[in-house]
C-alpha cells in the first residue's frame, strides 16, 4: 500500500487537540497548518475542538477591522485533504451557548466521556 511505503510501517492514529480561541493567540492557526501537512502522510487523522477551540469553527468571523487574516474558511478545506474526522465536545459548546448550527463545518459532537475514550485509542496526540 502507498500508505505503508510513505510512512514506513503501519498507519498511526493521530489526534490534533484544539483548545485555544483564534486570533488572541496564533496556536489555532499554526495547529491547523500541522493538520494540513500531516494529512499528506496518509495517517488516520482526527481533529478535536474542545474548550475555547470550538470558537475556531464559529460562523461569521470578520477580521477586516483587526487586520489579521481570517483563516476559518480553511477548516472547510479539510475535507479536500481527506481529513473527515472532526469532533467537538458537547460540554464545551453548551458552556459557551453554541450549537452545531453555529459552526462552519459539519462535526461529530461527542460527550466528555466519549471524547476520553477516543483519546485513549490514539497513538499520538498533538496539542498546543
Amino acid at each position: 500500500m502507498e500508505e505503508e511505503q510513505k510512512s514506513g510501517g503501519k498507519i498511526k492514529k493521530f489526534m490534533f487537540l484544539n483548545r485555544k480561541a483564534p486570533y488572541g493567540t496564533v496556536y489555532a492557526l499554526e495547529s491547523l497548518e500541522v493538520v494540513l501537512i500531516t494529512a499528506t502522510f496518509d495517517q488516520d487523522v482526527s481533529v478535536v475542538f474542545m474548550d475555547d477551540g470550538v470558537y475556531e469553527l464559529a460562523k461569521g468571523q470578520n477580521t477586516k477591522a483587526v487586520e489579521i487574516k481570517n483563516f476559518s474558511p480553511a477548516y472547510r478545506a479539510l475535507d479536500g485533504y481527506d481529513v473527515e474526522k472532526l469532533y467537538v465536545e458537547r460540554e464545551s459548546l453548551d458552556a459557551r451557548g453554541l450549537t452545531e448550527a453555529d459552526l462552519v463545518v459539519a462535526v461529530e459532537v461527542l460527550s466528555a466521556a466519549e471524547m476520553g475514550r477516543l483519546m485513549a485509542e490514539q497513538d499520538v496526540v498533538l496539542s498546543s
Binding site: 500541522v34 501537512i37 500531516t38 498533538l126 496539542s127 498546543s128
Partner: protein
C-alpha cells in the same frame, strides 16, 4: 524506546523548554533514544544563537546544542514558524536545523512516543 519531543514555547519565557530538556536528559540516561526534537510556535526561539542570559542563569539554547552534539539528536526548527518570528540560518544556533512541518509528522510516525511541551 524511540521518543520524539515537540517544544512549543521559547526559552526563559516559559518553563516548557526547561522541562523538555530535563526529560530528554533523563530519557537518554535511561537508555532511550531521543529521535528528534521539533520546535514549533514560539519554540523556534530556542534556536537563536544570539541569546545571552544573565551569568547566574542557565543557558537554555546552548544546553540544547550540547545535548544534541553528545547524543546525535536531531533538533529541527519549523521553517514557517521560524520565518514569522525571525529565526533564520544567520541567527541559528549550533546543532539546530530549519526544516518543514513534515518533520513533525515523520517524528510522530517513526517514534514510539511523542511528548509535547508547551504553554
Amino acid at each position: 524506546m524511540k521518543i520524539g519531543l515537540m517544544v512549543n514555547e521559547g526559552p526563559y519565557t516559559h518553563q516548557a523548554s526547561d522541562t523538555a530538556w530535563q526529560f530528554a536528559r533523563a530519557a537518554l540516561a535511561a537508555g532511550h533514544q531521543i529521535s528528534r526534537v521539533f520546535f514549533y510556535h514560539d519554540g523556534v526561539n530556542n534556536g537563536t544563537r544570539l541569546t545571552e542570559p544573565p551569568q547566574d542563569d542557565r543557558n537554555v539554547v546552548s544546553r540544547w546544542s550540547t545535548l544534541a552534539e553528545e547524543h546525535q539528536i536531531d533538533l529541527v526548527v519549523c521553517v514557517a514558524a521560524a520565518l514569522r518570528r525571525g529565526i533564520k540560518d544567520e541567527n541559528l544556533a549550533k546543532g539546530f536545523r530549519i526544516s518543514g512541518l513534515g518533520q513533525l509528522a515523520d517524528a510522530g510516525i517513526k517514534a514510539d512516543r511523542l511528548v509535547v511541551f508547551g504553554d
